[in-house]
């Protein structure tokens, strides 16, 4: 019946509330935000808003991402389109059609292959080598299916730092590590490992690596309120950080239960992990000691003055800034349709002696300043009342999308009776 649940989701209003996403160009040349079907890009190098030469998306965007070399950008979501953009011109060079809604995207480290995952757990690959400057804009291409999680929503898709593996996480608490073969168009059949330990959906993945450990380790965040550290090549769980329990949430209500992790972001040398947690106003920073293979809470950077709960975070490899967005589309509270609020944290760098000097930048001090905020937020000042409504809406949509429905026995029977194939089979 799970396929039906997913179909139900298509009609479900709440899941249509899409949390805002943020992505930062690897050398901070630009920063992009997606809210609802809106894609907003600001050119930080020139200090100008980017005009996209394309109609964009027609339904909620669920994933955005820059290639490691910064040349390509991918956006995808509920309109079943994967758009591949060239970041020099912000021209959409490829439109890839998906049969189902798209839940995650990734670009191989060499920038040649774009992968995307659909809501039924299938991962597709697109070979971008075919396009040249002369390629006409926006040809509809189809992806080639390469692997599948059996009927589970894939929540996160990543290439390992050395590019050898493609890693997929799903809402059934599974993380799968698959060899990404040279000829990926023939499928990715060789499973290297499964990282098993989470007890709820896995929401996000990131890598920590340094010179000593160039292949790196995997960190994952989950609906079970933990962040875990893995040796992804063997699937061994190295450490579990119960951030829900560790953080002293001042305003935490008991009935809220587990606090899902919504996003993770790591610094270049792997010593620090930023964690966005549902209901946490601000951001939690974890120290990561790769030689000891452990994670520990360094501190919580509170951003309490506007009940700021980030929905997505990102950073460039060249700057010591953590970019955060809090936002949601389709809010429809009074006359506020959507909310986007950007905050930038400085000092997001190497963790020295378990202390980190961080500062939440004033709007005027952010890269791109007020013009950047005007472009990405849609306006400079954001109504206070929008924050709590957005937080509530995002929480509900995440719950509906990722937490398995626990039907009562009666309700289950009722659902079964309503189904024709079973009705017909009954004697």
């Amino acid at each position: 019946m799970e396929d039906q649940n997913m179909d139900d989701g298509d009609q479900n209003r709440e899941t249509e509330i899409a949390p805002a996403q943020i992505a930062v160009h690897p050398s901070q040349e630009s920063v992009s935000v997606a809210v609802g079907s809106d894609l907003r890009v600001f050119n930080l190098r020139e200090g100008l808003p980017v005009k996209l030469s394309d109609d964009g998306h027609s339904d909620s965007i669920r994933a955005i991402r820059y290639a490691a070399n910064g040349k390509l950008f991918v956006s995808a979501g509920d309109d079943k389109l994967v758009k591949i953009w060239a970041t020099d011109s912000w021209r959409c060079v490829y439109n890839v059609a998906s049969e189902k809604r798209v839940s995650a995207v990734a670009i191989s480290n060499d920038g040649l292959f774009v992968c995307f995952a659909d809501k039924f757990g299938v991962v597709y690959v697109v070979d971008t080598r075919a396009f040249t400057e002369e390629t006409p804009t926006s040809i509809i291409k189809k992806g080639v299916p390469i692997l599948s999680h059996y009927c589970s929503i894939i929540t996160s898709l990543e290439f390992s730092p050395d590019g050898r593996f493609i890693i997929t996480a799903d809402r059934d608490s599974k993380i799968r590590v698959t060899v990404f073969p040279q000829n990926s168009l023939n499928g990715a059949h060789e499973i290297q490992s499964f990282c098993l330990g989470h007890t709820e959906f896995v929401s996000c993945l990131a890598f920590v690596c340094n010179q000593e450990y160039p292949q790196g380790f995997l960190v994952s965040g989950s609906g079970d309120s933990t962040v875990r550290l893995w040796d992804f090549s063997s699937g061994s769980l190295l450490d579990t950080c119960d951030v829900g329990a560790e953080a002293a949430f001042a305003d935490r209500k008991e009935e809220e239960g587990l606090l899902p992790i919504t996003d993770l972001c790591t610094v270049q040398d792997g010593s620090l992990v930023a964690v966005a947690i549902q209901s946490l106003t601000g951001i939690m920073l974890l120290g990561c000691d790769l030689s000891k293979r452990n994670l520990s809470v360094v501190k919580v950077v509170s951003i309490a003055e506007e009940t700021y709960i980030p929905t997505s975070i990102g950073s460039a490899s060249t700057a010591e800034l953590l970019w955060m967005v809090m936002g949601a589309s389709s809010l429809n509270i009074s006359d506020i349709k959507s909310l986007v609020r950007i905050r930038v944290l400085s000092g997001f760098s190497k963790c020295n002696a378990a202390s980190v000097e961080t500062l939440v930048l004033e709007d005027k001090d952010t890269p791109g300043g007020e013009q950047m905020l005007q472009t990405l937020q849609g306006k400079l000042s954001v109504e206070k009342e929008a924050f709590s409504s957005a937080a509530e809406a995002v929480k509900n949509s995440m719950r509906n999308l990722l937490i398995k429905k626990q039907y009562s026995a009666e309700r289950r029977d009722f659902r079964k009776r309503g189904r024709n194939d079973i009705k017909n089979k009954a004697k």
Binding site: M1, E2, D3, Y150, T178
Partner: protein, 254 residues
């Protein structure tokens, strides 16, 4: 007291074995349906002691290192496991079955056999689970020597092909759970499904077909048509069967 008589009547007086008719269940389950049974978080959490109590006796200090090596996927009423139990007495085996009543029946059947034949049938057990979702929760990489798919549900409709228990994607997982050299056995009386399973296996880079000599030498092959309830039914009706038996091979270097 009422309780005792119910228990008795579900089991045959003469053999002590459970009677199948008390464990009737719906003909087919939808493997996509949400689960309502416990699943081990990882293979290391699988409760060997409760499944194989005599082998993993609670009092033994040096914990037993043995692992499950044979898996019968969609084991139905368990006929294959029971035949294999005495053929490979040193091998731990598990049946995986989606329907809860059928699983309960197999459990009772094994318990009765253990009671009736002291020292035997200690190496087989059954779990209720959806094998299409949870294989990695039960088996580590390369842990299995044999996997069985005997008379799986055909799911004829094109749009239901993804419910089939053999597919290219699922073979990736089976290849993960199987040791290099391990063998996957499939058999069906549905020609279309037989061709499907064979073509999935043939086109998969991590499997190769056994030679006819190897098939002849393998004592397990003969059980495929005779050991299970479904196989016996097909044989009684004189039905034709289609087998595909393949070996897990090492992935060619990339």
């Amino acid at each position: 007291m009422g309780h005792e008589s119910t228990v008795m009547s579900t089991h045959s007086k003469s053999t002590g074995l459970p009677r199948k008719r008390f464990y009737r269940a719906r003909a087919h389950s939808n493997p996509l349906s949400d689960s309502h049974f416990p699943v081990p978080i990882a293979p290391s959490q699988f409760d060997y002691a409760s499944h194989y109590p005599q082998i993993f006796g609670e009092t033994v200090e040096t914990s037993c290192q043995r692992k499950i090596e044979f898996a019968d996927i969609g084991c139905g009423f368990g006929g294959l496991l029971i035949s294999l139990a005495t053929l490979f007495p040193e091998t731990l085996m598990i049946g995986m079955e989606l329907r809860d009543k059928v699983t309960e029946y197999v459990k009772e059947r094994i318990l009765a056999l253990r009671t009736g034949n002291p020292g035997q049938y200690q190496n087989i057990s059954v779990v209720r689970t959806n094998s299409m979702k949870y294989i990695p929760n039960y088996f580590e990489k390369g842990q299995l020597k044999k996997m069985f798919f005997l008379f799986p549900d055909p799911h004829f409709k094109e749009k239901n092909h993804r419910r089939r228990v053999i597919s290219t994607y699922l073979l990736d997982e089976y290849a993960y759970a199987l040791a290099v050299g391990g063998i996957i056995y499939t058999i069906t009386d549905v020609e279309e499904l037989g061709e499907w399973m064979k073509s999935c296996l043939e086109s998969h880079p991590m499997f190769e077909a056994l030679t006819s000599q190897e098939l002849e030498d393998d004592p397990v092959v003969k059980l495929l048509t005779t050991a299970t309830e479904e196989g016996q039914k097909v044989a009684r009706n004189g039905g034709k069967t289609y087998q595909a038996i393949f070996r897990r091979i090492a992935q060619p270097a990339h």
